[in-house]
Point group: C2
Chain length 330, copies 2
């Protein structure tokens, strides 16, 4: 008899725990308020079977910008820090770089001169550091760099500097049957080696800018060589193009933080049925950075205007986020 | 008492049915023999937890060519039949086509003259029929055409002319945790409107050739316009490039039928661990077609050589397949 009583008590305890877990806040790092309510309301509407806004799981596609939306983009894009470090690492094999711009400036850490060279200079740095090797070799270089490089302000690996509230949002959406994608202006192959571990987003759900690759037999072994030639720029008007090319259906939710995400949000929210657009507004100069219209990196001007006009949700980093990074979790 | 007996009998019957279903042959349209054994053996090896060849579900990527591997490609690629029909449908808006090649020949059904124009002539036909509209409009045109067009030999919709043994293979792989992709030389947007319904393969798992698209606001509404410019040719050495671009990991199994699939099979089978390559060999002139080295459509020469050399499995349509098409199921 006693044994049955024990079993009954155990069972009751399990049931209580299960229901507590189900009722637990899926977005604990988001402060209560309009922004959080808008997110939860949208998810509840599109997942309510029989409801007017119900969306079948296969069509629950959510797209996220990466730089400034999922991880830090200040003081410079992480991929630019990578390129500059690679220039230094490769310099011994390129003695000519000592006297040649933009390499000379890059080696001296003189970002102003690099920037003065404009797009052409940047492209030269990117091609010199991103091409001329196989896809497997490049993935290894990225992985090795991320394992050792540190962010200059936070003195932590860059992959520590992802936004905890956004990680919770990714998990929350996936728990509700969404497929989460990254749609970034950054390099697709720069992201794929680590997005699964850091964001739970597998390589096939990462879309980004790319250089061309060529299939070759190298000593009888098939490889894909990375060529110094632009293939696709997944930014601004390129984002809907990249989305369509890779996914082939229109997302129902889009998350960005800059004018580079404007067309992605337009494309996503112009579809029929319930749609959700959100802009992460960097308003927290103490815990992270505060920037929008005047910033070179992650400029947010037209998209902020459009957000207000179209009723997209604006996440105010200072007001809406309890903490910024996972390492601040207690 | 009688009620309990009835319940017990029902339960027993259910259990028997469930175990029968579990033991049922997942590939009933494949004859017993070496080919079928090779497929089942591979799947069992990569799914056996703790086994030497175990592959985690996330890495169980299987890639399939489409034309000649999943559906018929004779007497001509289905997409070419589509383009020719579209030329006829659009001719009233293009009176100049009456005197202009390759349109004149296409309108007269004179395929020899079209073919004599080579790649350039084909490209002209494709661009005239595939570009100059939005992605949504093109999807609708494809869907409408497939609903009415009939295959000249079988007098059935083209989507009836998919290979039943390959449908079973797709289902069998997915039931074993595989993600199934199409990697086709055909147009990505020509396939996406129907692959989910016909093959169970969603748009985001379809890779193919493409023309460029441009994001535009058309009367304030965002659209993607299809441009008369090649973006990517997903054939031969392009297939591993397309695979890497879209999936970002190397498949562990690849299925093709022609020299256009050679590099895809090389790329797939050169990876470490258990790998599987299969060539569908069209050997059945009665039930379908028999062709390989001499065929213009779906030429199988180098890939057949490579299959023998590398130990890839060759599915002999006549010997290995009990039936060819789903409508032959009893």
């Amino acid at each position: 008899m006693r044994r049955y009583l024990l079993m009954a008590i155990t069972l009751a305890a399990v049931l209580v725990l299960v229901s507590l877990a189900a009722a637990a806040d899926p977005l604990p790092s988001w402060n209560e308020g309009q922004t959080k309510r808008a997110i939860v309301d949208f998810v509840q509407r599109v997942t309510a079977e029989g409801g007017a806004d119900f969306v079948p799981p296969a069509e629950r596609i959510a797209v996220f910008d990466n730089d400034g939306t999922l991880w830090v983009e200040k003081p410079m894009y992480v991929q630019l820090a990578f390129a500059l470090d690679r220039v230094k690492a490769l310099a011994p094999q390129h003695p000519e770089w000592k006297d040649k711009q933009p390499f000379k400036a890059a080696l001296a850490g003189d970002l102003k001169t690099v920037a003065a060279g404009g797009e052409h200079a940047l492209l030269e740095l990117i091609m010199a550091t991103h091409a001329g090797m196989t896809t497997d070799e490049f993935a290894r270089v990225v992985t090795d760099w991320l394992a050792s490089a540190k962010h200059p302000r936070f003195n932590r690996p860059y992959t520590d500097l992802v936004y905890q509230p956004m990680l919770e949002l990714l998990t929350y959406l996936r728990a509700n049957g969404f497929k989460t994608y990254i749609i970034s202006g950054g390099g697709i192959e720069f992201m794929r080696p680590w997005t699964e571990k850091v964001y739970g987003i597998p390589p096939e759900q990462v879309v980004g800018s790319s250089i061309k690759t060529r299939f070759e037999l190298k000593e009888g072994k098939p490889v894909l060589m990375r060529l110094p030639e632009i293939n696709f720029i997944d930014d601004k008007a390129g984002k809907p193009v990249g989305i369509h090319m890779h996914i082939g259906r229109r997302p129902i939710a889009a998350f960005g933080n800059s004018d580079g995400d404007l067309q992605m949000l337009q494309w996503t929210t112009a579809g029929s049925g319930a749609r959700f657009g959100l802009i992460v507004h960097h308003t927290d100069s103490e815990r992270e950075w505060a920037y929008d219209r005047q910033s070179h990196v992650g400029r947010l001007d037209k998209a902020l205007e459009a957000a207000r006009k179209n009723g997209w949700t604006i996440a105010d980093m200072m007001k809406d986020w309890k903490i910024i990074f996972p390492f601040q979790l207690k």
